[in-house]
Amino acid sequence: MIETLAGFAIFLALALIRVPMAFAMGIVGFGGVAYMLSFNAASSMIGQITYETGMSYTLSVIPLFILMGNFVVRARLSDEIYHAAYCFLGHRRGGLAMSTIVASAGFGAICGSSIATAATFSKVSYPSMRRYGYADALAAGSIAAGGTLGILIPPSVIMVIYGILTETSVGKLFIAGILPGIAGTVLLCLAVRWMVWRDPAAGPPAEPHPWAERWASLRHVWPMIGLFVLVIGGIYVGAFTATEGAGIGAGGAFLFALWRRALTWRVLFEILVESARTTSMLFMILIGALMFASFINYTTMPADLKDFVTLFKDMPFLVVVAICVIYVVLGSAMEELSMILLTVPLFFPVVTGLGYDPVWFGVVIVIVVQIGLVSPPVGMNIFVVKNLLRNVDIVTVFRGVTPFMVALIALMALVVAFPPIATWLPGFMK
């Protein structure tokens, strides 16, 4: 117990002198294991973890999905998805903001990054919302919140990381994200409705499109729908592993970008190196986190927590609610990835010990991260949007994002209260 708290304190001190997260976690993990066992044990353990993480077949899903997302971002598909959503929803009050959310969800179905999704739609949908006189708060809020759907709707980088940390099937996690993703899209759209109900001037309707044009707008979107169905469907029916699905997805997105003439040799090189860099960065963090987790596993903390929680074993629901509250509070102050990596080794055994499904908990964790990404003051998506929309001040973004944050909290409550939303679909997988 004491050694764990000391570990967290040292981690915090290192992080605050700006030691990169990966090293702060790795060093504390190393020091901790050296203290609990021996220096030699820690040395061979860090060597082992680095070597095995580097050569893990399951992990090759990460660079391939990142690559797929980068191809899609460069292929400028976002414009078409947005246009299609706009044709169907634009004539409603707040319709452009709802289009942003629906388009973000569609984009998230091929891109596993919430930041990339928010950045993309800051460029794609903000100009048209501005043209139609949308309030900045509504525009910025819908972009920041819509972006978070990128990590809930498969593929998702956060799900892969959770899967690796807890040895949960990445394929099942992906499938489990589909229904909550749809529910999340609906809830965020309801938040838009609420905002325009409060202030009808915030989101004036655009002129309606004839049905012929609406159907025509879908024409440009179907290749990507096809790719999604191929990749996620293939993983679902077990035609291929998550890694193979990611490879096929990246290959398909590559061909798609070629077909759209979005690639020059130079752009291709940039996309590849960019994806490689993101991969390396994530792996360094993962190695640090795995070392940290091994230290935690040698401490009495997980057992202590479990003992403590058995006091509540008649009300497991209460424990889950408590964990969710802790996460929402932590998420507003911490960088989300490190939050997950630091806390999942502690909470996962507790939650699964209470009989909850690891896949379900993974989905809850992803929603928690979504909430963290849009919660003031340090939500990542808020800053992405703020920095791209230079004329919008930060307080406006905070104000705009709050109803969406409430909607995401409602989504979390929904998934916590009705676990089948997450577990029903993956239940059919082998």
Partner: protein
């Protein structure tokens, strides 16, 4: 350009593009390999022999070749919420300390990987199907980790940057 600048310039002009090229080729290769393997398996009943192992080895190469690149661009995830209120002198001190800590860590990891490679070489460990000597790959991992340590050293001599404004551009926008 002073005497001490030369090796730094060399790193920027030679090592960075070389590693960029390596990681680009490796990643594209990984994608092509997976696609060919799956297509071969379903349509021609002929998967690629050892595809699983090649993917693993390519992944290791990809990650370790990318690390010096991440480091040189100062792209490691860092807690920077306090940056706007940190005075300049403290920021410089933090930067130096953080680089030193990371330099020691990566240097130590490089050394551990080298020892592991020695062991693998001695034991003659190979991959199961293709009989590729794992020691060579591990030596490569160790050398790339050593390059990362050098990159941290170079970074230490560069001015400390405040929290990069995340504008969702290429380097920042595509993380989780």
């Amino acid at each position: 350009m002073g005497f001490g600048d030369k090796p730094f310039a060399l790193f920027d002009r030679a090592v960075e593009p070389a590693l960029g090229a390596v990681s680009a080729v490796v990643l594209f290769g990984m994608m092509a390999l997976t696609c060919t393997d799956v297509i071969g398996r379903y349509f021609f009943n002929q998967p690629i022999y050892g595809a699983f192992e090649i993917t693993e080895m390519l992944l290791a190469l990809l990650i370790f070749a990318g690390l010096p690149l991440v480091t040189l661009r100062n792209d490691h995830v860092t807690v920077d919420v306090l940056d706007p209120v940190t005075p300049g002198w403290l920021l410089r001190l933090q930067h130096a300390a953080a680089c030193a800590v990371a330099f020691v860590s990566t240097g130590y990891l490089a050394w551990r990987l080298w020892l592991r490679a020695d062991t693998l070489l001695g034991a003659g460990e190979t991959t199961a199907q293709l009989k590729f000597k794992l020691a060579w790959l591990t030596y490569a991992m160790s050398l790339l980790m050593a390059l990362t340590a050098i990159a941290f050293l170079i970074l230490a001599f560069r001015p400390a940057q405040r929290a990069a404004q995340s504008d969702g551009s290429a380097s920042q926008g595509l993380g989780p």
